[in-house]
Symmetry: C2
């Protein structure tokens, strides 16, 4: 039954081709402008053909969401070799922020939009959210390591991890939605007006909090 395998492989190739076209449009024109019809035109097939390979648009959104997590894991894997857990925690936070600045569209799809997570819940309710949990587990382990080194004593690991995630996500999210843009102008501190440094310096303030309660 080698023929069935070949067909399956062809099918996977086709799915990848669709995703590649979707990714191209998504990066250059954003999610809203990435229509099924445009994806179809890109790969020179009829729009309905897409539906033979992806259930609906949120299915494609989830696939792109996964692509984004691939990119993020790539970055984070470089930090696995930072031995000191507190240094690694710092580096993860900075890496997370830099990822959001470098790939705002992917960040939006991964952490701001509801569609991909809703798709997961609606169509694969039993499945776990692998991509996210992998990254989150890395964070959990890093926090655990920090505790071994005397940080955050008497603070629950999970809460500490979620807090750290919330801090960086809050920063990135308010940056991308341009909420900070409208608020930072009124700031007296000139340093903070520069958007790029704003995120890092507020994250720096968080790190100072952590450092002081070793």
């Amino acid at each position: 039954m080698g023929i069935k395998e070949r067909k399956e492989r062809h099918r996977e190739d086709f799915k990848a081709r669709i995703l590649q076209a979707a990714k191209k449009l998504f990066i250059t024109e954003g999610y809203e402008a990435t229509s099924i019809r445009k994806i179809a035109a890109e790969i020179e097939f009829s729009p309905t053909t897409i539906y033979l390979y992806y259930k609906d648009k949120t299915d494609i959104a989830y696939a792109l969401h996964q692509e984004g997590f691939g990119l993020m894991r790539e970055r984070f894997s470089a930090l696995a070799h930072v031995d000191d857990p507190f240094e690694r925690l710092k580096a993860m936070g900075r890496g997370y922020i830099q990822f959001a600045i470098d790939h705002p569209d992917f960040y939006e799809l991964m952490f701001i939009m509801k569609e991909p997570m809703q798709y997961l819940q609606a169509h694969h309710p039993e499945d776990e959210w692998e991509e996210g949990e992998q990254v989150f587990n890395a964070l959990i382990q890093t926090v655990e390591g920090c505790k071994v080194h005397g940080y955050f004593s008497s603070m629950p690991t999970e809460e500490m991890a979620m807090l750290s995630w919330s801090v960086v996500h809050g920063l990135c999210s308010l940056h991308i939605t341009s909420h900070f843009k409208h608020i930072a102008e009124k700031c007296s501190d000139i340093e903070l007006i520069k958007q790029d440094t704003l995120l890092e310096s507020v994250f720096g303030a968080y790190l100072q909090l952590l450092e002081r309660l070793k």
Copy 2:
């Protein structure tokens, strides 16, 4: 010229009627399902009539965004009488979180969606973002008060305010997008699985950090 005034008032009434209809649809069916045509049907006018009173859909979105800030300010005004600034900071955080839980749709419009802020930037670039700045200033002043009482010494006020905002926004945002739902299941700590307590307990962890460095 009393007639011109009456017309102007009628115009404002009509704008309010449109907004009321939009608000009703928005609350019951969400933003995406709130179409210009449905709003028009609700007030029993033609869809194009809407455009005589609101520039486009993002204009309506911004008006609803402002409505949301009205609701939020209403809640926060009750906290103005909490004298101790650190207690007020706690109460503001809890109030912010509770607002997001009680009015997730408004919260999305106010802090997660890009459209309203983009409208502000595109059509009123000189204007300030009054609603947001009012709330943010209340936060600034509260942080300032905390510093007087010996908290966050040597931490810049603005950074501290932005950090606090980022923490609660990060929590609310990850809750609404149901990211926490998929991650909390794996948590060993049973307390955290309950979504409602999760936000408050992670915020509690943040407060503990603050308290310890008085």
